[in-house]
């Protein structure tokens, strides 16, 4: 590696497998989550969830609830304190265009499960009991919740969501060329609504401090988002609201936006002048964010040898009545394959639901399932190996972005190494040709892709005279290993053992960093920490040169390395001085610096940056009884430098399992009459259990990338993308049955 992340480019910890440093705290219960923090006289809020999907509240009778001993107040739209007036104040960092939902705002019902009251009591059990006594009289209207029935009302969102690239303008003439193509595939693909369902349900604890300021523990993927939201909505100064979230029990995107329990907890705390916690139940996890379903049509026109001549990808996705949620669904088709005639469209239709939200690899899970299943169909239509077809249409340039080259793209290596590990060469391409006992065996492959992003991020580093280093910023470790990789980077940059480094995250008093999402945290916070540490290193170096008889006399900073707690002259290891000795000699107690990371404008003007993967799946299917066993996955990933192969592998494993869920199990079932998701618990909304998961192998291929000094691209989402297509393609190979609608359940296999 020529790219350096420490003064010498020597890896001690970076690049090596390290157990997560927050692991012991988590498995011993020492790690506290947002709903576990407490305060003297803490009040407990329990949300009363609405039962109709559209209409208005005629009246609310809270008298029976308020009569329960221990109930302090029942907040409704009729008695709530005033909050900010303009929509602008409710728009958080990742809000889509529109008017964000405001809990207890007025009598209007916008979706089923909408919070209609907050019962605040001295203890949780009392609040929960009293909540059942709140009587709400609704004037209900018939909701519109069926995406298949609103296609006529589809529209191009007039305001684009910040950070989400709209579909590019079409190039060539996709329709005309498709019509005359030698081989055509045109099919519709759908996938189900999914809810994030992290292990930790959403909760917020708002603590009123003696000086009237607030300390807030919020389940959020980035505390700065909650702080800004609370300040704007409640008219507070930022220094009056400190938000913390040291640990997150999974987010998957559900914690990107401040959710209504935060608003309600602060509303009650402001109203009552007391500390309040609001924790949602598992069922209430179905009353906000979800991955939207989509209806997609892919049209592929190709030569007989499979060379793509025309590609259309049209998607219809739902949003709420009040916001235009947008994600990148169709662009992937134009990015993945070289084609001269391409049209990509993405339209929305409004439904009477909450606003959808980013869910692990938002848009990519959706769009890549469609294009990668369609490519498998084209492989069969042209009688060639699905990998060969993909390599035939391989591209080193992003046609959706003015044909800019990719900064790095080792997808070819992913296919090669993945195929080798999986044993792809032994595959008989004929559907239904492979059997094992009663079971049909199927092997499928698909590509995964995700954007590699960096965000404006700061971080600090503080070196103290005892030789300890603290680094940190306000971003969250959402279970990904951020604490660990930042510790590795900091330790390497200043040549300290990892044990000498303390990494602090998830506190608005730390330097500002964005929410943890988009797979940008490793690149962004990693770079900022590295820069802060380098700055501290330079400060130590300057002090060292000023020492009497300094062993570093006449040495440039470029010539020194940091190792074993020392500054060492790179080509003369005998010339060295301990960091603690430098600080002692200089009489300095602490040295600190703030590092800034930002996207490299120069690089971005020349290159496009993506992570890629090749996913191989093996299924064994009892065709008669419709039982699918997913026995093997190989996921080969090209994501630049891997900071920690252990936590990186865990990231991919988790992503793959989520992809398996999307492929085979996860589906929020909507009652279209009631406008309500019905299987709102983990007994009936199925996520994979141990018996569903077998051999998952992860390969990281070598990839050198220069988008940031670390060479890192991010791993949070890529494991999920394409997994469902690989599985659906394996199901086709096993059974000869093409299933284009996720999840692939028993009924679809036997139907």
């Amino acid at each position: 590696m020529t790219q350096t992340f420490s003064s010498t480019g020597r890896d001690s910890f970076v690049g090596t497998p390290r157990s997560r440093i927050d692991g012991p705290a988590k498995v011993t219960g020492l790690a506290k989550y947002a709903g576990e923090f407490s305060a003297p006289d803490l009040l407990h809020g329990y949300v009363v969830s609405g039962i109709v999907a559209k209409g208005r509240i005629r009246s609310i009778d809270t008298s029976a609830a308020e009569a329960v001993p221990g109930v302090v107040k029942v907040l409704t739209h009729e008695n709530r304190p005033r909050t900010a007036w303009l929509n602008y104040n409710y728009q958080d960092q990742v809000a889509p265009p529109g008017a964000p939902f405001r809990a207890l705002y007025d009598d209007k019902i916008l979706y089923s499960g909408q919070p209609v009251a907050l019962v605040v009591a001295e203890d949780f059990d009392t609040a929960r009991h009293a909540a059942t006594l709140v009587k709400v009289d609704y004037e209900a209207e018939a909701p519109s919740v069926d995406l298949t029935k609103v296609g006529d009302f589809a529209y191009d969102p007039p305001m684009k969501r910040n950070g989400i690239k709209p579909p590019p303008k079409p190039w060539g003439d996709a329709d005309a060329v498709f019509d005359t193509a030698a081989v055509k595939v045109r099919e519709q693909y759908t996938l189900a609504t999914e809810h994030h369902n992290p292990m930790e349900p959403h909760a917020s604890t708002v603590i009123v401090e003696e000086d009237g300021t607030y300390t807030v523990y919020d389940k959020i993927q980035g505390v700065s988002n909650s702080q800004g939201y609370l300040a704007n909505v409640f008219g507070l100064k930022k220094d009056e609201v400190r938000v913390l979230n040291p640990y997150l029990g999974g987010g998957f995107g559900s914690g990107l936006r401040p959710q209504y329990q935060l608003f309600l907890a602060m509303l009650a705390a402001r109203d009552l002048g007391r500390s309040v916690r609001v924790a949602l139940t598992r069922d209430q996890m179905w009353t906000f964010s979800f991955r939207p379903e989509a209806i997609q049509t892919i049209s592929l026109g190709a030569d007989r040898d499979g060379t793509l001549q025309a590609l259309r990808h049209d998607a219809l996705a739902p949003t709420s009545q009040f916001e235009d949620y947008q994600e990148v669904v169709v662009n992937w088709s134009g990015i993945l394959y070289k084609c001269d005639n391409v049209a990509l469209t993405y339209k929305l239709a409004k439904l009477d639901t909450f606003t959808p939200a980013d869910m692990r690899a938002p848009g990519a899970v959706t769009g890549v399932f469609a294009i990668e299943t369609a490519m498998d169909e084209l492989a069969y239509a042209t009688g060639q190996d699905p990998i060969q077809l993909r390599l035939k249409n391989y591209t080193q340039r992003d046609q959706t972005q003015e044909d800019k080259p990719f900064g790095s793209k080792e997808l070819r290596a992913c296919f090669e190494q993945g195929a080798e590990r999986f044993g792809w060469a032994k595959r008989d391409p004929e559907p239904r040709s492979m059997r094992e006992g009663r079971e049909l065996v199927g092997w499928g492959v698909a590509t995964g892709i995700w954007e590699s992003m960096m965000m404006q991020t700061s971080a600090h580093a503080i070196l103290t005279a005892d030789g300890r280093l603290e680094v940190g910023n306000s971003t969250g470790d959402i279970g990904t290993g951020t604490y660990t990789i930042l510790t590795q980077i900091a330790a390497d940059t200043l040549g300290l053992p990892m044990e000498a480094v303390t990494t602090k995250l998830g506190d608005t008093r730390l330097p500002e960093a964005p929410i943890a999402g988009g797979s940008w945290t490793a690149a962004s916070s990693g770079t900022a920490v590295m820069k802060a540490c380098r700055d501290v290193g330079e400060q130590v170096f300057r002090l060292a040169r000023q020492m009497d008889d300094s062993p570093l006399a006449n040495v440039d900073f470029e010539r020194v390395a940091f190792a074993d707690g020392h500054i060492v002259v790179a080509d003369d290891a005998t010339r060295r001085v301990a960091l603690v000795d430098v600080m002692r000699a200089a009489g300095v107690e602490r040295l600190e610096a703030t590092g800034q990371a930002a996207p490299d404008k120069d690089f971005n003007s020349q290159y496009e940056a993506y992570t890629h993967s090749a996913i191989f799946a093996e299924v064994k299917i009892d065709e008669e009884l419709g039982q699918v066993r997913l026995t093997r996955i190989v996921s080969a990933i090209a994501a630049g430098k891997i900071l920690n192969p252990k936590t990186a592998r865990s990231q991919i494993l988790g992503g793959v399992v989520m992809g398996i869920g999307a492929a085979l199990e996860e589906e929020s079932l909507m009652d279209t009459t009631l406008g309500r998701f019905m299987n709102h618990n983990l007994g009936e909304y199925h996520v994979p259990v141990n018996a569903d998961i077998h051999d998952i192998q992860v390969i990281f291929v070598d990839e050198e990338d220069r988008a940031n000094p670390l060479g890192v691209k991010g791993l949070g989402e890529i494991g999920t993308v394409g997994t469902a297509a690989a599985i659906a393609n394996a199901v086709f190979h096993a059974t000869g049955k093409r299933i284009r609608h996720l999840p692939i359940t028993v009924d679809k296999i036997i139907g």
Binding site: E439, L625, M678, H680, G683, E684, H686, V689
Partner: protein, 337 residues
Amino acid sequence: MNRFDYVRAGTVAEAVQAFAGADSARFIAGGTNLIDLMKYDVERPGRLIDITRLPLGEIAEHDGGLRIGALATNATVAYDDRVRARYPLLADAILAGASAQLRNAASTGGNLLQRTRCYYFYDTATPCNKRQPGSGCPAIGGVNRIHAIFGTSEHCIATHPSDMCVALAALEATVQVSGPEGERSIPFAEFHRLPGDAPEKDTNLRPGEIIVSVDLPDQDFSRHYTYLKLRDRLSYAFALVSVAAALELDGDAVKTARLALGGVAHKPWRNTEAEALLQGKPATRESFQAAADLIVAEAKPQQGNAFKVELARRAIVRGLEQAAAGTPQSVTDKRIQ
């Protein structure tokens, strides 16, 4: 969850007595279902009568069969050597359900009394005739993928969720109960009800009656049996369709057949005509298909669960094949034999 009184009974008589004085009392043993339902505000007992101290945890020899105390946990029953040797169908059915933690807590009597997993029953925001008689059944015409195809009524299409009960139905167990009017025995087939016009009643237990034991008769289905459970994931999910099959063979011919289905009706579903049809027939796929066809001919599916009819037909055939071959479905290896 409402506020409730809590009393602990030391004897069966005390438990029955405690019930008599309270409106809407509920007995609680493992609580694996009741507590959930209370959290959902579906059950609102005024009094909980804790029966976990009653001496009903034993499994004992009885009349050539076994008497399973109502408080024997599901795990205790499933791993009991006598049950495994003589009633392996029951052991396998229990292990096909829930999780180790739940089986460690759930009692035999409670398993019989667990309530449906119908989405609407669990959601107090929606009407449900079982939860609130007369309010309607939105599952009909709604989301009914998991619902019943046999024995439904216009008032309710819910299923009974138990795996254990499917085996107990096939084994023709007897339920011993004690109540204000003394003790009585209820044949398993008569224990659970079809919904009819009173779906709020899951069973024929009378108010205040408590299950004392479940008795297994002297019989020999230990060689040719299976519990085949089909579901939306490979573990920890309720059955879409399950089959408890038990055969006695005379050479290649069926001497006795027992067949019960789970996940398809308001109670474990038996069709004694189909069992009779098999009697004396060769133990072949053809015979099994005839029996399966007879059973599913009665099916009345909804729009969302029509697949269950064909799935049930195929599962019956496969279950009988497994039983006849003496290769019961493995509980741990999810590959279907």
